[in-house]
Every structure is written in C-alpha cells, then in structure tokens.
Symmetry: C2
Subunit: 189 residues, 2 copies
Amino acid sequence: MARWEPGATARLQKAALELFTSQGFEQTTAAEIAQAVGLNRRTFFRHFPDKRDVLFLGQQELEGALVAAVAQAPAGESPMSLIGFAIARVADMFADTPREHARARQTIIDTNAALLERQHHKNANLAQLLRDALRDQGIAEPAATLAAESAVTVFNLAFRQWLATNETRTLSVIAAETLAELRALDVRR
Amino acid sequence: MARWEPGATARLQKAALELFTSQGFEQTTAAEIAQAVGLNRRTFFRHFPDKRDVLFLGQQELEGALVAAVAQAPAGESPMSLIGFAIARVADMFADTPREHARARQTIIDTNAALLERQHHKNANLAQLLRDALRDQGIAEPAATLAAESAVTVFNLAFRQWLATNETRTLSVIAAETLAELRALDVRR
DNA sequence: GTCTATAGTGCGATAGAC
DNA sequence: GTCTATCGCACTATAGAC
C-alpha cells in the first residue's frame, strides 16, 4: 500500500457523507471521518478548513461557471437576460449529477442549523460574485445586486423543486420556469 | 450590591460591542465579556446560545413586525404590494435607531466570516417567515418564496445604503426607492 | 504530529425574588 | 416553600499554534 492513496479529499467527503447519514452531523467527529479512510485527524483539517466544509465542495466550479456565463454574454443585455444565461449555465452543470446523492446531502444539511448557516453563507457569496460580474457587464447599482440575489433565489428554489420526490423534469427546465415566475411577479393578480 | 443587577442581557451586549470594537471579535472571549459586567462566563451562555448571538438581538421583534405587517394587509393584494407593506413597516422600526450604533455593529460583522455567516442565516430565516406569511395571504408558490426573498434583499440593500457615509435620507425613503428599482428590473434597458 | 485555547454543555450548588 | 438567575466545576471537540 502506498504511503498515501490518491484522492484523499474525495474519499474523506464520501466517508463523511456516509457517517453523517448514519449517525448525524454532530455525532460524527472529524477524527472519526479521518480514521474511516485511514488518515489522521489533523489531515482532515488540512483538506477542509472546518468540519462543515466537507459537504460544500464543487463550490469553486460553480462560482467560476456563473461568472463566466455572465462575462461571455453578448453586450447590452438586460439584467434579467443576463441572470437567465447564468442560471441556464449552472443548471446544465447539474445535468448528470445523481439526484439521490444531492438529496442525501441536502437532507443532512437541512437537519442541522450550523450546516444550513454555512449553505446560506455560500449562497450569499455566490450572489456577491454574480453581482460583480453584472457590474462588469455595465449593470449599475442597485440593479446589479437585486438581479444577482434574485438569480440565486431562483436557482435555489428550482434546485429544491428538482430534489422533490416525483419530480422528473430536468433542473434546466425547472429553473427556466422559475425565472419566468419571477418576471411575472409584478404583473400577477 | 445585589446578587444580580437587572438587564444583564443588555449590559452583556453593550460590553460585547465595545470589546469587539476595540480588540476584535475573535480576540475577545466570552469570559472576558462576562467579567466586564461582573458576571460568570457560564452566565453569558445562559443569555446567548452562542458568542455570535450577542450581536443579533432584536431579531424577534423584527420577525414579529414583518409577519404582522403582511397579516394585517388588506386581502387580495399582489405579492409586490404585500412586501411593500412589510418593508415600510420594518423600515419605520429603525426610524429612531442611531446610525452610528448600527454602523459600529455592522463594521464588526463585516470583518468576521463567522458573523457574516450568522447574519446571512438570520436573513434566510426572515425570508422564510415572510414567505409563510405571504402564503397565509393566499400567495401561491413559487411567488411566495420569490417575493419573500426579494423583500429581504431590498431591505438589506436599503439598510446598507442607509449606513453609508453622507447618506441623510431616512431608511423608509431609501427602502421605498429600492423596491421601485426592483419592480423596474424587468423593463429596464 | 503534539499541545493549547476556548466555545459550548451538563450538572449540582447557591442566592435572591416572590 | 417555589422559581429563577447565577456560579463553579468538569468535560468534549473544534480549530489553530507551535
């Protein structure tokens, strides 16, 4: 056996998801997760700045895709169109993510305040990056912030719907519909 | 001196704000805050479930006012009108809050990731309560969630603007303007 | 890889308000 | 007497320092 197996980060994530599912987040210590994959407790914290972060990876790819989608959009688009591009792009990234895996992860997060807190924080960061990208496309404040926050809301709502049991539509389709609902908010009723 | 002076919660908050301002959030221990007002470390944790919470009080009043504003609105209003009521009501609550105090508090929060995280979490909870209130007023999903999240975004943006140096308008005025900007998002450009 | 600070918790004792 | 706020001790686990 090699001094260290490759993919330690991924193995730690996998073990963490399993342990959190079976015994709960707070009942699982960082040492336990590390031990499950033959690593030292200290090594766990070398891979993740804190215990919660083990559930929030792939965030960087998401952020990059979001910003790129806005940056590559044709010039002169409206805020709503721009966030439409961004949402569509990110939804596509989840096209081949297994629904069951995402569901298991979200279940753990939803049953723990500290994890929900981290997720809200990640969402807020995402909105901030998107806001900056919108500004770079010439959108002024407060429109840039309002649009960016709306985009994150729309995406999260669509994501929740995508995870719902009996939901068979793709995330892209759901997201597009949710965005349409947002645009209709004002004219409704 | 009596075994306990009244208003321990408020005194702890005041001392915490001062200590956080002078030495930073992480450099200040819970024991230190308690000691500053002649209390035991253990007592601090009786008043606040955790150290961060000492900066987030008055949250319950805010939540109550928000929900009440929506609940008391005339029947048959549009989502946008309803969040207009809610935002106006909450903005009024800040009418006699000293700007300097709010600024000091926000400065501390902005310079610490853990505190920002908590603030984002509180915002998310606020949005959720507002969403439920909108549902009770007959607003269906996904409109209820979209409107609730938008309301929180508008309010926070307005609040940030209110804190800006050289800003002299009241929070109510700024909030109303920001809401108008949200409604104009779609027609823009 | 070890050592330490400190957040946060559980429990029992105590002191005052009523 | 009860009820509630405070205290003090011991404990665990995270997170960071060395």
